[in-house]
């Protein structure tokens, strides 16, 4: 789960990360009040769950409360890559001498938490990795003992951070690692981490990605920005269905994530365009199928639906009855192709035929058929 910069800063500040004073505003007047209270220049920053805010004009320096109000007025309501800005962060401005990059991330390859740092801060790290991979330095934390101070010092020296900052940087790195562990984050990124002419070090931006699998031991749900989520994706999530909306016109209901992806791919190979990724999970229960179908059909682009269910042990006659009863619960009808494999698949197909659904034997045939009927 991605969270906003202001939420990440609220989670990170108690760990001792040096973060300039900040507050969140939902209106220009609020932004002015905050700037007046801080009594010095501020930065007004759009709070959206995508990168590239600066380039889109979503980050502005304001030297007075009036300028802060004007900046917030321009930024609030702005559309950044399809995300509407509903809040701005008002943060004390800092004189920047040099920008660095620092992150803690779960590394799938080494199966460890690694810390990455670079003196090419303030730009996307993927860009640095492409252009100057030698400018990224990293250390691996021990899975049981965590990060050692000497490793933080090694990072600092390897990226040529002036030695006067060694102690402060070590404190920052340690706090970053601890906050990742404490919050079950898969990424905590400070970009930029800056040094100032007065010899201070500040975390100016913060990004955190939280592990959905760990939600049960935290109160992540209250951090979720429902307004930034696709309404269909939200409904699916609340019903325990994995759903990702896409731009095509063929809805897919599949059991299993790998098969769901492969189904989308085969639809594309047959010349169609999938409208979604959807995994109803193992059992393929009637009420889950009904909920999935309702979500798919509420996307007005959907012109046809493909069910691809590899039952295995699951009984296909039960799945077929589930699909038929789901059809009774939805208002809109589009052509539907069903492919069922598993125990009792013949009975399953017979039930589908009676309900006037198009039954297909193989995934290939099913995909070809659904592309064909989507064009009629």
């Amino acid at each position: 789960m991605n969270i906003h910069e202001y939420q990440a800063k609220e989670l990170l500040a108690p760990h001792g990360l040096p973060i300039p004073r900040f507050r969140v505003a939902a209106s220009p007047a609020e932004a002015r009040e905050i700037a007046a209270e801080f009594g010095q220049p501020v930065v007004v920053k759009a709070q959206v769950l995508v990168g590239g805010r600066g380039k889109a004009g979503g980050v502005k320096l304001a030297r007075s409360p009036q300028e802060a109000e004007a900046a917030a007025g321009q930024i609030l309501g702005m559309d950044i890559k399809g995300h509407t800005v509903r809040r701005v962060l008002v943060s004390e401005a800092v004189d920047i001498r040099r920008e660095y990059y620092l992150s803690a991330v779960v590394d799938r390859g080494s199966k460890r938490v690694i810390l990455m740092a670079s003196n090419e801060g303030g730009v996307e790290i993927e860009e640095v990795a492409r252009q100057h991979p030698e400018k990224i330095v990293r250390v691996e934390a021990d899975p049981f003992l965590g990060l050692f101070d000497y490793q933080a010092r090694e990072l600092a020296l390897a990226m040529d951070l002036p030695k006067s900052y060694l102690r402060d940087f070590t404190r920052v790195a340690r706090a970053l690692y601890q906050s990742l562990v404490e919050w079950d984050a898969s990424l905590v990124e400070i970009n930029p981490l800056v040094t100032t002419d007065k010899g201070a070090i500040w975390a100016l931006d913060a990004k955190m990605v939280l592990d959905d699998n760990a939600a049960w031991r935290h109160s992540f749900e209250q951090l979720r920005d429902l307004s930034a989520e696709d309404p269909f994706e939200r409904e699916a999530r609340e019903k325990g269905i994995s759903y990702v909306k896409l731009d095509g016109n063929i809805g897919c209901v599949v059991n299993g994530a790998g098969l769901a992806m492969a189904t989308m791919d085969v639809i594309k190979l047959k010349g169609g365009a999938p409208a979604n990724f959807l995994d109803i999970g193992g059992g393929a229960k009637a009420e889950t199928v009904a909920a999935a179908l309702a979500i798919i059909l509420s996307d007005v682009n959907v012109k046809a639906v493909l069910f691809n269910i590899f039952g295995g042990i699951t009984r296909c006659d039960e799945v077929a009855r589930g699909i038929v009863s789901a059809l009774g619960q939805v208002s809109r009808r589009v052509p539907m192709v069903v492919r069922l494999v598993g125990t009792n698949e013949e009975e399953g197909r017979e039930i589908l035929r009676q309900a006037e659904l198009i039954a297909a034997q193989s995934m290939d045939e099913a995909a070809a058929r659904v592309v064909e009927v989507s064009r009629q």
Binding site: F144, V244, L259, A260, M261
Partner: protein, 290 residues
Amino acid sequence: MSILIDKTTRLLVQGITGREGEFHTRQMLAYGTNVVAGVTPGRGGQQLADVPVFDTAKDAVRATGANTSVIFVPAPFAPDAIIEEVDAGIGLIVCITEGIPTLDMLRVYHYAVDRGVRLIGPNCPGLITSEQAKVGIMPGHITRPGPVGLVSRSGTLTYEVVNQLSQSGLGQTTCVGIGGDPIIGTSFVDVLSLFEADPATEAVVLIGEIGGSDEEQAATFVATGMSKPVVGFIAGRTAPPGKRMGHAGAIISGGAGTAAEKMRALAEAGVRVAENPSEVAGLVGKALGR
């Protein structure tokens, strides 16, 4: 021959009295798997489908000589279950459970591997050695004995391909589901090297998906350490970047982990890469000269 499990497997089921644990224990027994013990704390002394239940894994191993375990306990308790199996001296642990927090898995992984224990999963369907043993939740009836080894990050997509292989007369040695999480115990490379060393396996099918770089590492291994033909398929060519596609590990992040990259790496390593899962059996047949 086969890899990892066979007739000599002595299986322990963790969480045997739970709904999933009980259902799949009966399925595994029906397949002919040698299920020797179950563990559910507090239920020691009971029996389930004639399998004795123990309070602890150590009791179960001492009494039955179990050497392999399969875990069906819910995510909050699964890391503890894996560590209990490691400490009980189990050599192969298969964790079916989905939803274990990544940081827990990271420690559990190192704990098991540091002690020489092989962990498969989590968030996986387990494995089957055709007509010998089934550990996990794969449907047994779709496999046939034969010369093809299969390794996959997926569940139902694996069944799809196994079914197709069997229907084309291409049986399997062992089918292994390694799991869809970002941190998993056994990688493609681990399983490929086992298949390479298994005299009964003549060709290998690898089914990958978007996210991470396990497929790229597999490609390097195929190019340098494999003499047997490998056929590959990667799911998720139409997946958008930055979105998690069901599996916790299936996400294209920072432009890395795309299906196209993985397909290219595999093809360059000499893997026959299928565009469509329905082509897999044909490519395997060709590779085996049939």
